[in-house]
C-alpha cells in the first residue's frame, strides 16, 4: 500500500465528483453535518447506527456489511472515496472496514471535511438516489483486526501504540477533552505501549504529514519496524487513523487495529495497567 493507492487530495476529489464508478461517502459518528451540507453526490454512513452491530458490541458481520452496501447502492467495482469530520477518524474506521471485507478500491480524502470546508469548496443538501446493488463481501481479513487476548499476549513483545492524548494515556483523563469525563473503566494504558497521539500524524488542516515525517515520528517514539504492531485508542476510531498511517501509507506489515480499545481493555478484570507517562514494564 502507499499514498497513491490509499489517499486522494481534495483537488482530485473536486475534479472527480461526476466520474462514473467513483462514490463519495461521508462517515461520522453523528451525521448532522452531512444533513446540513455535504460534497455533491456523496452518500452518508453513520458510525453509530450503520457501522456497529445493533445488539452486541461488535463490528458488522459479513452479511450485515453486504446488506448495508447493497442498500446504499455501492457495488464491488466502485472506487469508494471516504471522508468525514473529526479529522477523518470515522472515515478511517470505515476504510478499515472496507479493507476488512476486501473491497477492491477504497481511499480516504486527505484532510476530510475540515480541509474541504476551510478551502471553501461546494457543499450541497441534495441527497443522491443510488439504485440498490448486490454487494458481495469477502470473509473478514483478521490480519488487520486485533482481539483482547492477542493484545494481552502482545505486552512486552509486539509494538503497542496508544494513539490517545498524553493525558488519557497517563490516566489523568478518561476521554478526549471535548467530552465529559465520566466513564466506568479504569484510567491508564496497556503496559509497554508507546504513546503516539493520532494528532501527531496530521497537520492542523487535517491532512496527513509526509511519509518522511511519519516514519521519523514512529521511529523516534520507539516503534520497531521489524515487529508486529497493534494500535488502540478508546473505541477504535482514532486508532483506525493510525492503522491507516502505518499500514496503508507507510506500508508496514502486520499492523492491526484493536477496535475493542481502552473501553474494553480498561474494563477487563485482572489485566495489567500502567499509569503515568512512561510505557511501564511487561
Amino acid at each position: 500500500m502507499s499514498r497513491d493507492t490509499a489517499l486522494v487530495s481534495v483537488d482530485w476529489a473536486e475534479k472527480n465528483l461526476d466520474t462514473p464508478g467513483v462514490v463519495f461517502v461521508e462517515v461520522d459518528e453523528d451525521t448532522t453535518a452531512y444533513d446540513a451540507g455535504h460534497i455533491p453526490g456523496a452518500i452518508k454512513l453513520n458510525w453509530k447506527t450503520d457501522l456497529q452491530d445493533p445488539v452486541r458490541r461488535d463490528a458488522l458481520s459479513k452479511e450485515q456489511f453486504e446488506a448495508l452496501l447493497s442498500e446504499r447502492g455501492i457495488s464491488n467495482d466502485d472506487t469508494v472515496i471516504l471522508y468525514g469530520g473529526n479529522n477523518n477518524w470515522f472515515a478511517a474506521y470505515a476504510y478499515w472496514y472496507f479493507k476488512l471485507y476486501g473491497h477492491r478500491d477504497v481511499r480516504l480524502m486527505d484532510g476530510g471535511r475540515k480541509k474541504w470546508e476551510l478551502d471553501g469548496r461546494p457543499l450541497v443538501k441534495d441527497v443522491p438516489n443510488r439504485p440498490k446493488t448486490q454487494y458481495v463481501a469477502k470473509d473478514p481479513d483478521l490480519s488487520i483486526r486485533a482481539f483482547r487476548d492477542e493484545v494481552v499476549a502482545a505486552i512486552g513483545k509486539k509494538n503497542l501504540v496508544d494513539v490517545r492524548s498524553p493525558d488519557e494515556y497517563a490516566g489523568r483523563l478518561l476521554a478526549p477533552a471535548h467530552l465529559p469525563q465520566e466513564a466506568a473503566q479504569r484510567g491508564g494504558h496497556i503496559p509497554t505501549a508507546i504513546n503516539v497521539p493520532w494528532s501527531k500524524a496530521a497537520n492542523e488542516d487535517g491532512t496527513f504529514k509526509s511519509d518522511e515525517e511519519l516514519r521519523e515520528l514512529y521511529r523516534e517514539a520507539g516503534l520497531d519496524e521489524n515487529k508486529e504492531t497493534i494500535a488502540y485508542c478508546r473505541i477504535g476510531e482514532r486508532s483506525s487513523h493510525t492503522w491507516f498511517v502505518l499500514h496503508e501509507l507507510l506500508g508496514y506489515k502486520n499492523v492491526k487495529n484493536y477496535d475493542g480499545s481502552w473501553s474494553e481493555y480498561g474494563s477487563l478484570v485482572g489485566v495489567p495497567i500502567a499509569l503515568g507517562d512512561e510505557p511501564g514494564e511487561a
Binding site: D28, P54, G85, W89, G120, A177, H178, L179, P180, E237
Partner: protein, 106 residues
C-alpha cells in the same frame, strides 16, 4: 429509543446545553465563542485545544452562534481557531468550574 450502540469520541454539538451529568465542582470546562476582529461570531470554525507544551488535546466545530466547549483540567491551555475568516490563538489559565474565553480570528 436510542440504539444500544457504543458511544464514540466524536465532538458533540457545541450549541447543546451543558449535560446535566457534568459536575462543575469536579470538571474544568472551557467554553466561549470565536469571533472576528469586528465582533461577528464565526460559525463552523475549527477550535483546537492545545496543552501547555503546544500538543493537540481536542478539536470541536463551533455552533451557529460561534460557541465551543472543552472538558479539560486545571492549568494553562491554548485555544487555536481555524476558519475561512482566518485563524487565531488565545492562551488561558483555568481552574475547576466554568471558564469563559473568546478567540478572535482574522
Amino acid at each position: 429509543m436510542t440504539a444500544p450502540t457504543s458511544s464514540g469520541c466524536a465532538a458533540p454539538d457545541q450549541a447543546a446545553p451543558l449535560p446535566a451529568s457534568v459536575d462543575l465542582a469536579r470538571e474544568t470546562v472551557i467554553s466561549g465563542v470565536v469571533q472576528t476582529a469586528s465582533g461577528e461570531v464565526v460559525a463552523g470554525a475549527y477550535v483546537r485545544l492545545l496543552d501547555s507544551s503546544g500538543e493537540f488535546a481536542a478539536e470541536v466545530v463551533t455552533s451557529p452562534a460561534g460557541q465551543f466547549r472543552f472538558f479539560a483540567a486545571p492549568g494553562t491551555w491554548t485555544l487555536r481557531a481555524l476558519s475561512r475568516h482566518g485563524n487565531g490563538d488565545t492562551s488561558v489559565t483555568v481552574d475547576r468550574g466554568l471558564n469563559e474565553v473568546t478567540v478572535t480570528v482574522g
